[in-house]
């Protein structure tokens, strides 16, 4: 037996918490067992059987010939080349009714190749559906996963419903599961629209609200400058009974207090949503209308923990387990059957490329055939195991290499004029706090204490 290379040991009250990053096991060790458990995870296995057995079960102690890097590589490759999924992110339109201060798509406009096809026409819509059907026949996926994206996809509601109804039928015909969601600013997501979406198989939406009115309306106004908060808030309140809403909240240094207020208001109004906290990122050196303070990744990591604490206070039953799944790769864009489709039929890999039209990996032709090019090889050849900095990082198995935008689009393919400010994830800085938060919550829920 030997000790796993990926154990994290966190002192907790008088005991400690052990996390194994290969299995996601989290083990609470009471104070009376701390000394023996520590001896064991430092290679002295002459301790109580009960302790050894738990450590083996959790993957903290492993067989001598277990190569954990091979395990990670095997997971990564299986995921990357799996045919189980067929994923399309459909950018229904490149137009938007908002003029967000930090919009990255707007920042990229000066570098974008002219794209005359800003919206899907009927012919291309049919071509994408035919191409999907062809891929279903050849790849035999279990899951058809479609994300409706933009610009603002609800500006093209009719086309969205046409796509989704066709995919719903296709999934039934080919006996596969259809899962889909829409990424929207929420301004047009009325009760009536939500009903139509759900009827067509779009059961969830990612909607953005950047704090209370004061900050949201400043950061995310309509094109004419008028506010959008109240409309979106009303929409969210009305549609949560119809569809699952994940609330994306982009946060600046200045807006943290406002975000807490928003969480409290949602709780007071009984609005149940999932929360997705993100930091506002503005690419340095590019024109931007955003002038508030930006959080660094390290600062954001602290803010994220604080915000979750606020969520738990306001929503005592909020489901929170960042360790419920193993992540075989950082991003679905690395998978062979994942594509972003723009209205002209060009195929991309990363959501961050929408609107820049520079690095397509292929194209859907009007007859429904797909032509792929050499850039796809670069995506499929990517391996986080070649990145020495990542491999040395203490959260590598949980992160699997961070955002690949910089390493692929900027450094390798030379098609992006910009580098994103950060590729790492907040867990690099808040892992211990998140594990403690999760443990605290679980122990409370399970009645272990207090």
């Amino acid at each position: 037996m030997k000790v796993s290379e990926w154990n994290i040991c966190i002192p907790y009250n008088k005991g400690e918490i052990l996390l194994n990053e290969i299995t996601n096991a989290i083990l609470y060790v009471e104070d009376e067992n701390v000394e023996e458990a520590n001896r064991a995870i430092n290679g002295d296995f002459q301790v109580k059987n009960e302790i050894i057995n738990s450590l083996i079960q959790g993957g903290f102690i492993i067989p001598d010939d277990f190569d954990e890097t091979d395990r990670l590589k095997s997971r990564f490759n299986a995921y990357k080349f799996s045919s189980k999924f067929l994923r399309f992110t459909i950018a229904l339109t490149l137009d938007c009714n908002f003029s967000c201060q930090y919009c990255y798509q707007s920042q990229l406009v000066p570098f974008a190749r002219p794209n005359t096809h800003k919206r899907f026409d009927e012919e291309m819509l049919r071509a994408v559906l035919t191409a999907t059907e062809n891929l279903i026949k050849s790849e035999r996926p279990h899951v058809l996963s479609i994300t409706y994206y933009g610009g603002e996809p609800l500006l093209e509601l009719k086309k969205l419903l046409e796509f989704s109804n066709a995919y719903k039928k296709m999934s039934k015909d080919y006996d596969l599961r259809y899962t889909s969601f829409v990424v929207t600013n929420g301004y047009l997501l009325t009760k009536n629209v939500a009903k139509k979406l759900v009827q067509s198989g779009v059961n969830s939406a990612l909607v953005t609200l950047d704090g209370t009115q004061e900050f949201h309306d400043k950061y995310r106004p309509l094109k004419d400058g008028s506010g959008t908060f109240e409309t979106i808030y009303r929409n969210i309140k009305e549609v949560t009974e119809i569809m699952d809403i994940t609330l994306r909240i982009n946060i600046s240094k200045d807006s943290v207090g406002s975000v807490k207020k928003l969480i409290r208001r949602l709780a007071a109004d009984g609005v149940k949503v999932d929360f997705d906290f993100q930091m506002i990122e503005v690419v340095p050196g590019l024109p931007s209308n955003f002038h508030d303070g930006l959080l660094t990744l390290e600062e954001f990591a602290k803010v994220e923990v604080d915000l979750y604490k606020e969520v738990f206070k306001c929503f005592p039953n909020y489901e929170f387990n960042p360790f419920s799944e193993i992540r075989p790769a950082r991003c679905d864009a690395l998978c062979k059957n994942s594509f972003v489709v723009e209205p002209d039929g060009k195929l991309y890999k990363c959501w961050g490329e929408v609107g820049s039209s520079r690095a397509n990996v292929g194209k859907i032709n009007l007859n429904g055939s797909i032509s792929l090019n050499h850039r796809l090889d670069t995506w499929l050849a990517y391996s986080p195991f070649e990145d020495e900095e990542c491999k040395r990082c203490k959260i590598f198995p949980l992160c699997m290499g961070g955002c690949v935008f910089n390493s692929l689009l900027f450094e390798k393919l030379h098609v992006s004029p910009i580098k994103k400010p950060y590729r790492c994830i907040p867990l690099r800085y808040n892992l211990e706090a998140i594990v403690k938060l999760f443990t605290e919550r679980r122990r409370c829920q399970n009645g272990f204490h207090k």
């Binding site: 996601n24 609470y28 993957g59 599961r177 969830s204 387990n321 419920s324 075989p328």
Partner: protein, 60 residues
């Protein structure tokens, strides 16, 4: 010593890899009531009435 989060086995990982994300909310330790006894998770989400189909597929 209590597992606050159970270790995820490769078998379970493959199972959930069919689920595209987080279909069960949170199966680990707090499975909310399974639609199929053989399924380690499989809690139908509120708005996914077709979910039991998926469990049937996996357990074929």
């Amino acid at each position: 010593m209590d597992f606050i989060n159970n270790p995820i086995t490769e078998k379970e990982m493959n199972y959930f890899s069919l689920c595209d994300g987080n279909p069960c909310g949170d199966y680990n330790n707090v499975c909310g009531g399974c639609v199929n006894k053989d399924c380690p998770g499989g809690v139908p989400r509120k708005h996914e009435p077709e979910w039991p189909w998926h469990c049937a597929q996996v357990n074929k």
